[in-house]
């Protein structure tokens, strides 16, 4: 955090000065470790063992926050008797499908109350909010949809045992699942001593409860694993058990790395979702409007996602205006359909295979910044046309003359047929608009000056491009062009004659289209309707322009406000600064403690109040109990704080939504020198692999050839640079602070391999080899894993090969391959296998020979490490027959 988010770290520093304890868990000793109370080095990719052992410790020693856990989580909820755990199946859950290499998750569902003979025992599912197969779920990165709430359930009539004793309760399942995750196992798998484990366990549990809360803070490297989403889930389980969710000083804080990366997920430039985390329709699943609506949110489930139809209709009205009518299902058929996973890596591979003609790069430098950067560059060379919009002449714009593949002979400038358009954009001070920062806070940036030369904002560029595309199709009667021609694309212009960003923000906020309030801006998402009388480009942002006031531009100085600074910017939803903050009060609505008072029920006023906007129906008393079977927000009881979850509870166990298992389980990375000591199943059986000749992997675990790539490498950022360098390597003031690509190694590894501080090293993976200057440092710690010393090599990934930047160097991302988390299709870039040798790498074609020589020595083939199931337990389709 000190390393990559230094200004946010001021709050950590201040908390420490007030007595807070800061523990840093990271493979290497960083600037955060240097100022923490304790640094715990961990083997990259072994996080679930460490966190799972914490869960085990909390449960075994009864250190959980019992009242919170029973009332607010699904601990007491019963799970289907068909469910089988990884403990039963050697690392697989019930429902693994060997044909599709994914799970059928139906056996993970909640048990339902037996209501007559037709109740489907063991599942909440059915045609509506049914249990989509993990394969199709993964294809559409369904995990991303949970950016603002949990998945749909058919209803919320679940069986509960509040004594937590029934063996089918989530609580008991959790206990059994993590029983083997012991401090000794942590020592063996993570390389963390038993003492250090106990230090962390004591610190976290002693600092949680009524009077105290602990926070987990991660940077998004945590997501860059083949089970990245499960890493975060493990932390969520701990925080729910300790009662640290929805409370001040608690939670899990994702420190994201780009100014509006939160915004670019909320209003996604992502293939699989529409604004507000609504699913992009998928062929086969969502062929009709009715299929779609019932899949995204069910009227029988609890909470605000039950109104997903209102959010979807309002979006379609914002896009297609009068052309979206009830008769044409709100122009639902104007939406294109997914048929598989179309994430950036699948797109790159398709591009390399010649299936993509045109590509827009908007402030992105994949030739340096994406995994398998070599494949990225080779793919760019197969395009017909490429548009690069960037402040600097980045490597992705100059690949046709500067790519290292030209030196190796794999590419030649004259043979590259890609037509490249380079267009300079406006900088952040040359346009007005909002960024959404990492806490969901929208902040308006005023425009300071006009952009120089040809520079122009993305807003203006795409507005213009859209106008020109529409003009070219104006006379078309082809139905395929209707969505473009019917698109609402008439925006007011500002003083400079450019599209007004305020007008776009108003469209996002939404409007009343008919009725009493016709023409007024929507005040909040609860005003949105499914009958076509409202529009909203992104329902969760509804309210940012409430009352015609741009609330993202609120700028009351922090020092003049209370701790939640509600009048600075605007947070979605409804300006709530802590989500699910109903949980900061006990089931009766009283603060858990005076010290941790945040939102509570005011008996006199008969409403929720506090220092934040209550994330709850304002006048719903804690004692309120809905009629059984009530759906939607009305179905939430007065003590159901998790208002976006279909049962109102925090999910320790995920009966739905996670594609690789309802509980996080330790698997080794796609490529690992270590054999999974917990299960026969080596790696995540549902991960996404791409067996291709240009995407090879080293052997893992005990497989022959693993010793050829004996070390673990991990990639990361430095304070002084920004991602692929487009905003730092061109600036002299930042370049001089970290001028060269380097690798960090321990003195022990340096001695073993003959590496000299300040000298050169060549790092070889199964994909490529790069050269880096060597920093020998005690900050890298060799870890003893299963009695064997494992060395880790640290690689910052900011440099790339080109001629235009102030500083350049080999790209660490050349070493990475493409293997993805199944939930969200994010690559594993934090753990890989490599060798390291002294000296610079061979130049030209000799580089290819070196990489091939390693591959052949290790016996690498297209199949290596790509086998998904590696245990024989729980054969396909056997889950139903097996004893529960």
């Amino acid at each position: 955090m000190a390393e990559c988010h230094p200004v946010a770290y001021q709050w950590v520093t201040e908390a420490r000065l007030r007595g807070a304890k800061v523990i840093h868990i990271d493979p290497r000793f960083t600037r955060t470790s240097a100022t923490a109370d304790k640094h715990v080095p961990i083997r990259a990719g072994s996080d679930v063992v460490f966190l799972g052992a914490l869960i085990n410790h909390i449960l075994a020693n009864e250190l959980y926050f019992k009242e919170y856990v029973v009332a607010f989580t699904n601990a007491a909820t019963m799970v289907s008797e068909d469910y089988q755990d990884t403990e039963d199946l050697d690392g697989l859950f019930s429902g693994y499908d060997d044909k599709l290499n994914n799970y059928d998750p139906s056996s993970w569902a909640y048990a339902t109350e037996g209501e007559g003979p037709n109740a489907s025992p063991g599942t909440i599912g059915g045609p509506a909010a049914g249990h989509e197969h993990g394969h199709s779920g993964s294809e559409r990165s369904a995990g991303d949809e949970h950016g603002s709430g949990g998945p749909a359930l058919e209803h919320a009539k679940v069986k509960r045992d509040e004594s937590l004793q029934d063996p089918h309760t989530v609580f008991q399942i959790l206990k059994r699942h993590y029983a083997r995750y012991t401090p000794e196992m942590v020592s063996e798998v993570c390389g963390i001593s038993v003492d250090d484990f106990h230090y962390v366990a004591r610190a976290v549990t002693e600092n949680s409860g009524r009077d105290r809360t602990s926070a987990f803070v991660y940077a998004v490297g945590w997501t860059q694993h083949t089970l990245g989403a499960q890493f975060i889930r493990t932390a969520a389980i701990i925080q729910l058990l300790l009662g640290n969710m929805g409370r001040p000083g608690g939670g899990i804080m994702a420190l994201r790395g780009h100014a509006s990366i939160q915004g670019s997920t909320d209003i996604p430039t992502l293939y699989n979702i529409l604004p507000g985390y609504l699913a992009m329709p998928m062929v086969g699943n969502h062929d009709t409007w009715d299929d779609y609506v019932s899949a995204i949110g069910n009227k029988q489930q609890k909470g605000f996602w039950a109104n997903a139809d209102a959010y979807a209709v309002s979006l379609l009205k914002a896009w297609w205006g009068d052309a979206a009518t009830k008769e044409n299902d709100w122009a639902f058929d104007y939406l294109p359909r997914l048929s598989g996973a179309h994430g950036t890596y699948q797109t790159t591979m398709a591009m390399k295979d010649g299936q993509v003609e045109g590509y827009f790069l908007l402030g992105q430098n994949p030739a340096v910044g994406s995994a398998h950067a070599k494949m990225q560059r080779l793919a760019l060379a197969e395009l017909k046309w490429l548009v690069v919009r960037d402040l600097q002449m980045i490597e992705s714009a100059t690949f046709w003359k500067d790519a290292p593949e030209i030196a190796t002979g794999e590419l030649s400038t004259e043979k590259i047929g890609t037509e490249v358009f380079f267009l300079p954009p406006a900088s952040h001070v040359e346009k007005a608009g909002t960024f959404t920062q990492t806490q969901r806070l929208l902040q308006w940036r005023h425009k300071a000056v006009n952009p120089p030369g040809d520079c122009q904002s993305e807003l203006e560029f795409f507005f213009e491009l859209g106008k020109r595309i529409r003009a070219r199709l104006a006379d078309s009667d082809d139905p395929r062009d209707r969505p473009l021609l019917d698109l609402t694309w008439d925006y007011p212009l500002d003083d400079e004659g450019e599209i007004s960003s305020e007008a776009v923000l108003q469209e996002i906020n939404g409007r009343h289209l008919s009725g009493d309030k016709a023409g007024e801006l929507a005040g909040m998402y609860t005003e949105l309707k499914a009958d076509g009388s409202t529009s909203s480009g992104c329902w969760i942002y509804s309210g940012v322009y409430a009352g015609g006031v741009n609330r993202s531009a609120n700028r009351k100085p922090g020092r003049e406000q209370g701790p939640t600074a509600q009048e600075w910017g605007w947070a979605w939803p409804d300006n709530r600064r802590i989500l699910y903050n109903r949980a900061s009060a006990d089931p009766e609505g009283k603060p858990w403690s005076e010290r941790k008072k945040y939102v509570w029920w005011d008996e006199e006023q008969q409403q929720w109040t506090g220092i934040d906007t209550p994330d709850f129906v304002k006048t719903k008393a804690p004692s309120y109990r809905p009629e059984p079977g009530t759906g939607g927000p009305d179905g939430l009881a007065g003590d159901d704080p998790f208002v976006m979850m279909a049962d109102g509870k925090g999910w320790l166990f995920a009966p739905k939504g996670m594609l690789d298992g309802p509980l996080p389980t330790h698997y080794e990375p796609q490529e690992s020198p270590v054999q999974n000591p917990l299960y026969g199943q080596q790696s995540n059986p549902a991960r996404r692999v791409f067996p291709r000749k240009d995407n090879l992997w080293s052997p893992s675990g005990n497989a022959p050839g693993a010793e050829v790539y004996p070390f673990v490498f991990t990639t990361y950022r430095l304070t002084e640079h920004h991602t692929a360098g487009g905003m730092s390597r061109w600036l002299p003031y930042l370049s001089e602070l970290q001028p060269e690509f380097f690798c960090e190694v321990s003195p022990e590894l340096a001695a073993e391999r003959g590496l000299a501080n300040g000298g050169w090293a060549t790092i070889v993976s199964a994909r490529s080899a790069v050269e880096a200057r060597v920093l020998v440092t005690e900050r890298m710690t060799p870890l003893v894993i299963g009695g064997r010393t494992i060395h880790q090599v640290g690689l910052p990934y900011h440099w790339g090969v080109g001629r235009d930047a102030v500083v350049s160097g080999d790209a660490a991302n050349d070493l990475l391959g493409i293997a993805l988390d199944p939930n969200v299709q994010i690559q594993e870039s934090k753990a890989g296998s490599c060798d390291i040798v002294p000296g610079r790498r061979p130049q030209g074609e000799a580089l290819l020979r070196l990489v091939e020589e390693y591959q052949s020595r290790a016996g690498v083939t297209v199949e290596t490490s790509n086998q998904l199931r590696t245990t024989t337990a729980g054969a396909s389709g056997s889950s139903k027959e097996a004893d529960a």
């Binding site: 000065l17 923490a36 109370d37 002299p732 930042l734 001089e736 500083v807």
Partner: protein, 359 residues
């Protein structure tokens, strides 16, 4: 001696000595290295504000320090020092010895006490004058401090530590650079700081040799700055930190202190800075971090104390700072006095000899 008494050595108010009619309270930095995160925002903010050119693009191999040292084109420099447990133990012991010797940086025993905190562990933290921005929940700050006082927390000895410290011009009470400057290019400001006037400096370089900290330097040649865009200014002229003289004149915080994310670099009147610094050392000592010590806070040292005070966690040499800096002109009064006595004595002897001969 009157006017001359403190002009070249000893504790004094330098702005008053430089004859500012209405000197401002002396301004200075307190750099608390125990909360530095080594982000180098100070280096960049300084360069950006003062339009200092890029200063070299090679990797030093010395931890994360690719800046090297202060110089004509580096007015803030963050040092990175990697240490193993044995060295930490030595630092702690040497700090303890300083206390035993009556470390002059510590306040007299009757002065008000700082509040210790519950901090313990590998890297020091401790309560200080932070302004609570969150709700004052049952005065928890005091409560925690009290709990810590009874707990007598001690800093456990880490296996390893990574020290980071942002260095800057010391703005000495008796500034060698200023005292040897023959042109009046260097001057003492109304804020008590020492500033070069590039339009006056003739580049003679006397100041470079006179600085006991190696801070001031002549910008030697026009670097290849085509990447930096601008024409490099002030070539051939002595350059160093101005403590943002232009900003100070308008009640603005110096660029480095304004940027510093963790307030490791604090700015204010020197008196406040010294107070804060002494409180902080006390807190750290109470928590067992006896390696903490102040640098530049002793008005009786060889430069009369500095306007930039540092809290260090090891011997100054470890950070590349001279352990006992002495301004070359510090001895001038003594030398003049001795020379005077010698002259008087010689004159006396001459007179005596002459008188003797006459007798």
């Amino acid at each position: 001696m009157g006017f001359w008494q403190h002009q070249l050595a000893g504790p004094t108010d330098p702005s008053h000595d430089a004859a500012w009619e209405e000197p401002e309270p002396r301004k200075g930095f307190f750099t608390d290295t125990s909360i530095c995160i080594g982000c180098k925002a100070c280096e960049v903010a300084c360069k950006e504000w003062n339009a200092i050119p890029e200063d070299g693009l090679s990797l030093t191999g010395n931890s994360y320090d690719n800046t090297g040292s202060l110089g004509a084109s580096t007015w803030r420099h963050v040092a990175f020092i990697e240490q193993t447990a044995d060295r930490v133990e030595e630092a702690r012991a040497s700090g303890r010895r300083l206390v035993d010797l009556g470390m002059p940086a510590l306040r007299p025993p009757d002065a008000p006490q700082g509040s210790p905190s519950a901090a313990s562990g590998t890297a020091p933290a401790g309560l200080e004058g932070v302004v609570p921005t969150a709700v004052a929940d049952d005065g928890s700050l005091d409560a925690m401090a009290a709990a810590a006082r009874t707990a007598h927390a001690t800093g456990t000895l880490p296996d390893f530590r990574w020290l980071m410290a942002s260095d800057v011009c010391k703005h000495c009470t008796h500034a060698g650079c200023l005292d040897v400057c023959p042109t009046g290019a260097l001057f003492r400001t109304e804020h008590g700081t020492v500033v070069v006037q590039p339009d006056v400096c003739n580049g003679c370089g006397y100041c470079v040799a006179a600085c006991p900290f190696g801070v001031i330097e002549r910008r030697e040649d026009e670097r290849d700055d085509k990447r930096g865009g601008g024409v490099v200014s002030n070539v051939g002229v002595a350059q160093k930190c101005t403590l943002c003289y232009d900003r100070l004149g308008h009640d603005q915080t110096p660029a480095c202190a304004q940027a510093c994310p963790t307030t490791s670099i604090k700015f204010g009147t020197l008196a406040e800075m010294l107070d804060t610094a002494r409180d902080r050392v006390e807190v750290l000592h109470d928590n067992g971090f006896t390696e903490a010590r102040l640098y530049g806070a002793n008005a009786d040292d060889g430069v009369g104390g500095t306007g930039s005070v540092f809290l260090l966690l090891d011997e100054p040499e470890v950070y590349g700072l001279p352990p006992d800096p002495r301004v070359p002109t510090a001895d001038l009064p003594d030398m003049f006095r001795k020379a005077g006595i010698a002259a008087v004595a010689m004159f006396g002897m001459a007179v005596a000899a002459f008188a003797g001969r006459r007798r």
